[in-house]
């Protein structure tokens, strides 16, 4: 199991256990973490699973693919640390990963 922390717009942190192979979006939905909508169910087609990766995790998590960058155009307040959480797979070396959810998803 891998611990993932989601910090919402108001600063409330929620830490849940993610399964290796699931996505960071699925992990949030499964545990009822608010702030991620995931309208398209993880198909990289809606951009309502937008998160900001905490600075110290950015390198490990990696950069979005060109397709994900295209979808990020539809998100709001996109920052260099923006990712779509349905495109990040939970891996053992992401244990402790912290992401922030934006003020709103679309």
């Amino acid at each position: 199991m891998v611990k993932i922390t989601y910090i919402d717009n108001e600063g409330t942190a929620r830490t849940v256990e993610g399964e290796v192979g699931a996505t960071v979006m699925e992990t949030a939905i499964k545990h009822g973490v608010p702030g991620i909508e995931a309208e398209c169910g993880g198909a990289c087609a809606c951009s309502t699973c937008h998160v900001y990766i905490e600075e110290e995790w950015r390198e490990k998590v990696g950069e979005p693919s060109p397709m994900e960058e295209d979808m990020l155009d539809f998100a709001f307040e996109v920052k260099p640390s923006s990712r779509l959480s349905c495109q990040i797979k939970v891996r053992q070396d992401l244990d402790g990963l912290t992401v922030r959810t934006p003020e709103r998803q679309a």
């Binding site: 398209c40 198909a43 087609a45 809606c46 060109p66 960058e69 295209d70 990020l72 155009d73 539809f74 709001f76 307040e77 996109v78 920052k79 260099p80 003020e103 709103r104 679309a106």
Partner: protein, 353 residues
């Protein structure tokens, strides 16, 4: 006002389920008109994920969403359905027993014996960017679509986005606007490379500006925008003076007019139906696909396909009250094959030895 279009069936929504409804209705001799607010056929499949794979269409191990739409169009071709795109159905009124008058926002009127609502997640509408205080500007100096190009002549136009709509309108409005700025969050575009090249050429000639950033707030008075406050990727801000702003952030599904047609909706967004024939509480109006609700409902394409087959049986009773309906297979029924315009290969001849 011109005469209403008279038809057996009006199908609201040209998504995959509306399309397959044409097939099942067609086999039973009912003619359909389809109406969709989108400029293309295929609903969510065509608008949201055309290139993505689908693996759970029975008998089709793999197809793309657009591939599925294309196959459906080929499959329903024999039935000559008519499409009315770029039109939103605004009202459905019961005028007979059953007979309906259906009206669109473009003024088209239909008179049909039955209505099939295949409206999916609702009508596609432009996404509104969450810029604080944008509402008073909407429709006055902030527009999500261009209806009349002339109204932008001589204006300072700010276009926001990096897709085809943003680029197309940049190219189209550049000659009309007194000054045009294209604002996008990065220097890569989703739009067709050809449009991007043309846009870049205009920038090179000094005809338009291309600026990197995202709109953070608006300034103006009484709905008239004067400046957009833009945030750059490094966090600094600056203003862009403009008379109109056109943000293009793609489309999202909103229930839209369906909410006003008098159904008691489940969770405020779904039309309850019975599972015998997918008829709504109004005799003669059916709801199929993602828009309907019944115990156990799954928003899957295959479920919608099943729903339209049963719907067509009941629809037949309204359209042909005096005729008896005989259950037939497309494999063996020559009358169905005639409707489909196919002739099966002759049975194999016995081989002489």
């Amino acid at each position: 006002m011109s005469e209403p279009i008279k038809t057996d069936v009006v199908i609201i929504g040209a998504g995959p389920i509306g399309l397959f409804a044409v097939f099942e209705l067609g086999l039973l001799d009912m003619k359909a008109h389809l109406i969709d607010i989108l400029d293309k056929i295929g609903g969510q499949c065509a608008e949201l994920y055309p290139e993505k794979p689908i693996y759970d269409i029975p008998g089709v191990p793999f197809t793309s969403a657009q591939g599925l739409v294309d196959s459906l169009l080929e499959q329903i071709k024999p039935f000559g359905a008519q499409y009315h795109l770029n039109e939103m159905v605004e009202s459905v009124e019961r005028i007979g027993d059953p007979l309906f008058r259906v009206r669109t926002d473009q003024g088209t009127e239909f008179e049909s014996k039955i209505v099939v609502i295949a409206a999916g997640g609702g009508s596609f509408q432009p996404k509104r960017p969450p810029i604080p205080g944008i509402e008073p500007y909407e429709g006055k100096s902030v527009f999500y679509a261009v209806r009349k190009m002339e109204s932008f002549r001589g204006k300072r136009v700010l276009i926001v986005g990096g897709g085809d709509s943003a680029l197309d309108w940049t190219l189209n409005l550049a000659p009309l606007a007194s000054h045009l700025t294209l604002l996008h969050r990065r220097s890569e575009f989703r739009a067709a490379p050809d449009s991007v090249n043309k846009m870049m050429a205009l920038v090179g000639d000094g005809k338009i500006d291309f600026v990197l950033g995202q709109v953070a707030a608006l300034k103006g008075n009484d709905g008239q925008i004067s400046e957009a406050i833009v945030k750059t990727n490094d966090g600094s801000t600056f203003d862009i003076a403009c008379d109109v702003m056109l943000p293009f952030f793609g489309l999202t599904m909103k229930l839209g007019p369906v909410a006003k047609w008098g159904f008691e909706l489940k969770n405020n967004e779904l039309i309850p139906v019975n599972t015998e024939n997918f008829e709504t509480s109004v005799p003669g109006i059916f709801a199929v696909g993602d828009i309907n609700w019944y115990p156990g409902k799954l928003k899957l394409i295959l479920s919608g396909f099943h729903e339209v087959a049963l719907m067509a049986q009941k629809a037949y009773r309204y359209c042909y009250p005096d005729k008896r309906l005989v259950f037939q297979y497309t494999t063996s029924s020559t009358s169905l094959q005639k409707k489909l315009g196919v002739s099966p290969p002759p049975p194999p001849q016995p081989v002489k030895v």
